[in-house]
Symmetry: C2
Subunit: 156 residues, 2 copies
């Protein structure tokens, strides 16, 4: 808590205290996406499961002293293709009031640092087909399209 840098922007793991603001960010995100509808109760359940299960994933937030600027949800799994742990990157969102200031780039760089430090061998994200802008953003940061197509079965 140094006074001189009290408003520095920082990236750090989220805690349970962040839950209400994380839920709000997810509602924003799911309102923008075609495949999903916002459902705050479900988002809170999912976020809490990740926060309470640090072996299964990590939620990183970017913030200053006044606000939560954005979040990303990193899920840990295993790949038989690359032979090791890999990251699934989900729920990457910068709050609309904070866009266009480089915070997204800062956050995506920190995700890559986190992955390299922990020995993850690949990062995969699913981007919405509609959002050409976010696809270009991730391409600029080294992410490449694959030839795979996701198919899903909902069980509820």
């Amino acid at each position: 808590m140094s006074e001189s840098h009290s408003n520095d922007v920082r990236v750090e793991p989220a805690t349970v205290d962040d839950l209400p603001l994380l839920v709000q960010l997810l509602v924003e995100l799911f309102e923008e996406e075609e495949d999903f509808n916002p459902d705050p109760a479900r988002h809170e359940i999912g976020l809490r499961m990740i926060l309470e299960n640090p072996k299964g994933g990590r939620i990183l937030v970017i913030r200053n002293d006044h606000s939560l600027i954005g979040m990303v949800n990193l899920l840990f799994t295993i790949s038989t293709a690359v032979g090791g742990m890999v990251l699934l990157m989900e729920d990457f969102i910068i709050h609309p009031a904070h866009r266009g200031q480089g915070y997204g780039s800062r956050l995506v760089s920190e995700v890559e640092n986190f992955a390299r430090q922990k020995g993850f061998k690949r990062i995969t994200l699913l981007t919405d087909k509609i959002s050409a802008e976010s696809q270009r953003f991730f391409q600029r940061h080294g992410y490449a399209f694959s030839n795979m197509i996701p198919m899903r079965l909902l069980l509820e």
Copy 2:
């Protein structure tokens, strides 16, 4: 081990004893896919990590007394969209010598049973764009295309 049913086809969790045959199946699979190259050493590392980490996933095999007919790799993760545990289905493969006999349908049904019994709320798989046949197979079993596109960053 009843004599009368000694050659029944069954679906069950794989064990470390299955590793050599599972690696062979993955080599077959990755030879067919555009995005991946076979690498037996890596496949063995990844398969072993899953077998040794039952909280992170499960490998199911379909077999009779004589042979390993096929496999599927189920990875467990959390979704903030649906608010609960979800399955990633990977490495779904029936050995070429055993195709066209309904074993794939049997295996995909058992995956759905497994998911429902354990309370998973969604199953997602990434299919190769090229393989229209396997896409139709999963569509027949209820899987729907989503509007998401995977992007990846390799860290090696």
